[in-house]
């Protein structure tokens, strides 16, 4: 479903070339639970941005659902992101002036979904994430765990095939972190591919497939026998 072939990413910092990803060959199937681990600077965030089409490879090919997405223009990329990819960030990235419900609604607004359908889907989702009574609260009136749940609702409201989570528990206390993690893992049952970037070994260990990165290379790629 996702296939990276020979993907490299280099940045120019000043007059120096910095390589963030070197010759990455990787493929995920639908419904996989993958964790990407490694120290900071190992290229795991660049990898996530690459997978989320926020960044383009300097060389190599990216195939998503069999289609080459390397050469798409801005508008086509935005469309793929909208329809196939969901993001969950460490710092939640909720729009502060919008209510919880409006934040969840945002991707559907961008996609041009009719208002009645939006309301309905938001309501269903808020209900199932236990946020029904928080729908009209602004992000600053919510706890960290609630904020992250709103963010997950937002990431899944368009029914994406891939969910990319960048340290989703990084800003939460341990108990809340586990709750959020359980919520994310629950999505696997719906056939979503979950990619989790973390440097917490304990969390990373829960994934079925664990990828360790160092200096822009894949150090190890172990599959856990279920």
């Amino acid at each position: 479903m996702i296939e990276l072939q020979n993907v490299c990413r280099t940045f120019t910092v000043g007059d120096q070339q910095v390589t963030a990803l070197r010759d990455i060959d990787l493929s995920f199937g639908a419904g996989e639970y993958i964790s990407i681990m490694g120290p900071s600077g190992s290229g795991k965030s660049t990898m996530l941005n690459m997978l989320g089409l926020l960044d383009r490879p300097s060389s190599g090919t990216y195939l998503l659902d069999g289609g080459n997405v390397t050469d798409l223009n801005d508008e086509q990329l935005a469309r793929v992101r909208r329809e196939k990819i969901g993001f969950v960030f460490q710092s939640f990235h909720l729009v502060p002036r919008l209510t919880a419900a409006q934040n969840v609604e945002l991707p559907m607004i961008l996609a041009g979904v009719p208002p009645e359908e939006r309301k309905e889907r938001v309501q269903v989702l808020m209900q199932s994430y236990g946020l029904a009574d928080r729908a009209d609260h602004k992000p600053d009136q919510l706890s960290g765990g609630q904020r992250q749940r709103v963010a997950i609702a937002r990431a899944t409201v368009m029914n994406p095939s891939v969910l990319l989570a960048d340290e989703p528990t990084g800003n939460l206390d341990q108990a809340t972190g586990w709750e959020v993690l359980k919520l994310l893992e629950g999505l696997l049952a719906q056939g979503i591919t979950l990619v989790l970037v973390t440097h917490d070994a304990e969390i990373g260990a829960r994934a079925h497939r664990r990828i360790h990165m160092l200096d822009g290379r894949i150090l190890s790629d172990e599959q856990q026998a279920k």
Partner: protein, 402 residues
């Protein structure tokens, strides 16, 4: 993304920073209001002048004795001659022209008017019955000068409204006798109050038949002949005819001046019209300044909302959509700003109209449209750069707040 959602999202982000939004709208509103008020003033002045001319009479051509040269001293003055006067017969000869509808000869003099012990100096106009129609004057009571022979020296007079009040108070004036100089005149009518018209206070006049005024002042010339052309198009014909008839009667000498009210009016109209445009233009500069302000604040807004823009991109908004969101913000801002400005401008014009009731202050429609269009145009134009900047942000860097 739907248009209604775009507008809603944009208005949401405007409400998100109310002080900034309010200040930008204020700048826009002041610009629009300035254009509206200033052009309303200019237009008011123009209409005031036009109305004043119109109250003199319509399609007027005026014949006056003497040749007015545009420069230098006229030949008559050089040789010490006074110009030949225009006589009543000269005036009557004008009727040979078919383009002339009616005319009124005019003499002006001053005499003392008395009734019993009451006595005052007045301006006496000598004319004919036609003056009433030519000058668009109204009677209060009685009738105007009698029609008939222009040489008729009947001792009748018509009083201006204020004259009547001073001499008779609330008494009946028509039918009474007054003394004007050394002659007695019977009052046959009183003019309605006309107010001031081009500097001549018709309320303080006494009007007598032109031939009687010649006797009273012991002269034979006319001060002016007021001619009313049949219609607007025949004004030129009247001018040519009047000149030709006068030249013929004055043995080939061009010693009268014929001016048209239209020519004077058009000159005033042009000057004041140009002035209105200029003042409106200067006010429009403040709109451009408001535009620059919008650009400035928009650029700050882009910098402040970098994370939000990054998020929108991650959620699947292409650059075009981000651009549209910023355009929508600018358009909303300018639209609401100009509506507020229009309200402010119309209110201002209304207040000025209350302070100077004689000035017909009302903003011209072209200025209202131009001001609104300029406000919307500058608002959107000056948001192009900030919007493009937002659209071009790299999503990864933007999400990191860089």
């Amino acid at each position: 993304m739907r248009l209604s959602d775009t507008l809603q999202f944009a208005s949401g982000s405007l409400r998100g920073s109310p002080t900034r939004t309010l200040l930008m709208m204020l700048a826009m509103a002041i610009g629009v209001a300035a254009v509206v008020v200033l052009t309303a003033l200019g237009e008011g002045a123009r209409r005031y002048v036009v109305d004043q001319f119109a109250s003199l009479g319509t399609n007027l051509v005026i014949v006056l004795p003497g040749r007015t040269e545009t420069s230098g001293v006229g030949p008559g003055l050089m040789s010490g001659q006074t110009p030949r006067e225009i006589t009543l017969d000269d005036a009557q000869a004008l009727l040979r022209s078919r383009a002339i509808k009616r005319f009124a000869p005019l003499t002006v003099g001053s005499a003392s008017l008395s009734r019993g012990a009451l006595n005052r100096e007045v301006v006496v106009l000598g004319s004919t019955s036609e003056l009433l129609a030519v000058r668009h004057m109204q009677m209060a009571v009685g009738r105007f000068l009698p029609e008939g022979d222009i040489h008729d020296t009947a001792s009748v007079c018509v009083l201006g409204n204020q004259m009547k009040r001073e001499l008779f108070g609330n008494e009946q004036a028509v039918g009474q006798w007054v003394r004007l100089g050394d002659r007695r005149f019977r009052i046959i009518g009183v003019m309605a109050s006309q107010g001031e018209s081009m500097g001549m206070r018709t309320d303080e006049l006494v009007i007598i038949p032109v031939a009687a005024s010649h006797q009273l002042f012991n002269n034979s010339g006319l001060f002016r002949i007021l001619i009313e052309a049949r219609n607007r198009d025949s004004i030129e014909q009247v001018t040519r005819d009047a000149e030709a008839i006068m030249v013929e009667r004055h043995s080939g000498e061009r010693d009268v001046t014929v001016i048209t009210q239209d020519a004077v009016l058009q000159t005033f109209d042009r000057i004041l019209g140009a002035l209105t445009m200029a003042v409106g233009g200067i006010a429009a500069i403040s709109l451009a300044v408001a535009g620059v302000l919008i650009m400035n604040v928009m650029l700050i807004a882009v910098a402040q909302r970098v994370k939000e823009i990054g998020l929108l991109k991650a959620l699947g908004a292409p650059g075009k959509q981000i651009r549209h969101l910023f355009f929508a913000e600018a358009a909303l801002l300018s639209a609401i700003g100009s509506v507020a400005g229009l309200a402010l401008g119309f209110a201002g014009s209304f207040i000025i109209g209350q302070i100077y009731p004689s000035l017909p202050v009302s903003p011209p429609w072209w200025a209202v449209i131009a001001a609104t269009a300029t406000a919307l145009g500058t608002g959107i134009l000056f948001s192009v750069w900030p919007a493009r900047r937002a659209a071009k942000l790299d999503p990864v860097a933007a999400l990191a707040g860089k």
